[in-house]
Subunit: 333 residues, 2 copies
DNA sequence: CTTTGATATGAAAGCGTTTTCAATGTTGCG
DNA sequence: CGCAACATTGAAAACGCTTTCATATCAAAG
């Protein structure tokens, strides 16, 4: 016994009106006489009619769902953005199809294709390796795409970010001002635009402004994992670094704990500043100083921007830059 | 200039076959002569045809998407489950519509309704307050529902969990074995079945087995937040507790840091054991001892179970219990 | 050559909405 | 009372696919 579904046709019959009229009242179209509206509403209630969104999507060519591509939900930086995205989406009556990409180009392309097949009205992309192939897919997509907390050197897509170059430069300057001369730059893969094209640029800028020579022995490219950070200590010490700028909070926690476990005093002998100001910065001891950024808002604003784009509203600025800050906690002097 | 979409009809025309045949090759139906299959495939490639999943969903009554209701993606316990869910979903060609509920009953019911309107093929629910209304919605849903890492005292739905009662009892026994007599029980809302009906039961069991009287002054009901845990110290000390079982890792981190900040030595003067074995346990110092549970697997198994249910396969056991363990780190003696 | 039993294919009816366009009602006004 | 102008309603055509059922084709067997 399959559960019977009641359709718009059933409602029309019971209410003795046409499907068109039922459709109108369901969609809040004002061109319906109050009396018939009431009558239809009663039948809808009595039959417990629920519009089928799939049929609706086919007929109207709008699904009120957007695709969200995220490197890994388990990464608190990204999940914070995702929360902002979902809240605003819900506010605007959209749903989110969420997929993890592991920043794997092939997977991203594939996911993008299934999202487009599912006729999502828009897409929010997180990830910092926008390959040519991906860019090509974005272009051919009829659904607008916005990058959230992610950069593409080509700047072809609308996006929401902070000014990474300036933020990192300021963070590194802070370290320099404390007397550090050998400052490590530790980040994830240099294949990511955000690392090679933004953070590293800010790092170099700060060094240059202070008249310190850039030394690529101080650049550590690794994974965004706690373990990776933790095992970095010997190398960090060997390079003679006395401070580090780190591109991810979990990684930074690893670096810091690795240092501490090796008997290095943070911040006494080694200062650490991280990038994302997630909850993690407050959990570890010492608490980590960090660049601050409005994580939730980045997601929220990206979604808001997307709603405008999906609505064909003209938007003043396609690439929005949110303010950042520097939060001094206890991992720096 | 709207981007033109090519339909199955276009392909059929170009390949000089019927839509039915195109549909067959697209769906891998074997009843197609290799020669015509090849011909159709070529046209598909040439026209860059992509099947419209919405139309497909309407015609076939299957959307290959499942709804996932999660209290908060930002909570690493749940996001870990979500990762398992998504991976398995992808493996079986499903997509996930993810929505945050904040464990808010009203929101959950509403979300459930929009998921059903969107004709999801199945639903995975996370959250521990299954109200009557919710249970009612589950029942009327034509899509199967499975609970992941969440319990309902009524046990009406298929679910995947660990044996919380036994796990907590074991954890608390461990604390007792270390000589603690006054052990605090700190958890989130007692409205959650997992707390009042499982964890607390395990806690009481352990006490009883050891001949220790239950004292509700030692039960602390609070939020699942770091701050909440951190500000618990005075109360904990006032109650004379020398150890605590905590129901959430972030909360536990707060409790521990609050203690430490107040000059209480962990584990010397106060032992802490937590519940979820997320990454957080390794980030804090001292590292937290914890009940261990296969987070990713709970999600993965839940999704796998759901695929069977959606497929109308008969499943041997509807409520699966995965193994748990106890991981001794440095927050206990 | 027929017959037969697969094997391949096509026609057309849905799937449950939205939307266009025409038809019908209603109201106000001279 | 007659008519223009506007407010309501309905019929039916999409939307892009799957699926059923009937037809056509074909190789092997008689």
């Amino acid at each position: 016994m399959e559960k019977q579904t009641v359709t718009i046709y059933d409602v029309a019959r019971e209410a003795a009106v046409s499907m068109a009229t039922v459709s109108r009242v369901v969609n809040g179209n004002p061109n319906v006489k109050p009396a018939t509206r009431k009558k239809v509403l009663e039948v809808i209630d009595r039959l417990d009619y629920r519009p089928n969104a799939v049929a609706r999507g086919l007929a109207s060519k709008k699904t009120t769902t957007v695709g969200v591509i995220i490197p890994d939900v388990t990464n608190i930086y990204f999940s914070s953005l995702a929360r902002g995205i979902d809240d605003i989406a819900m506010m605007y009556k959209y749903n989110i199809i969420l997929t993890n990409s592991d920043e794997n180009g092939g997977k991203e392309v594939q996911v993008l294709n299934t999202l487009m097949a599912k006729q999502v009205d828009g897409i929010i992309f997180m990830g910092n390796q926008v390959t040519d192939e991906l860019r090509e897919e974005f272009k051919r997509s009829k659904a607008p795409v916005v990058l959230a907390g992610s950069v593409d050197s080509e700047k072809a897509q609308p996006s929401v970010n902070i000014d990474y170059v300036a933020a990192v430069a300021e963070a590194v300057k802070n370290l320099i001002d404390h007397g550090n001369q050998k400052i490590a730059f530790v980040s994830g893969s240099m294949d990511e635009a955000i690392n090679h094209d933004y953070r590293l640029k800010g790092y170099k800028k700060a060094l240059k402004d202070a008249g310190i020579a850039y030394d690529d022995k101080l650049v550590f490219e690794t994974d965004y994992t706690y373990k990776a950070g933790q095992s970095l200590e010997p190398a960090l010490s060997a390079a003679g670094a006395t401070a580090a700028f780190v591109g991810d909070d979990e990684l930074a926690a690893g670096v810091m704990n690795g240092l501490t476990d090796a008997g290095v005093d943070v911040p006494g002998e080694f200062e650490v500043i991280t990038s994302n100001d997630t909850k993690l910065t407050e959990l570890v001891r010492p608490k980590m100083s960090s660049i601050t950024q409005p994580l939730y808002d980045i997601g929220a604003v990206a979604m808001r921007l997307l709603t405008k784009l999906m609505n064909n509203e003209t938007v003043e600025e396609n690439t929005v830059i949110l303010p950042y800050g520097l939060m001094k906690r206890s991992s720096t002097k």
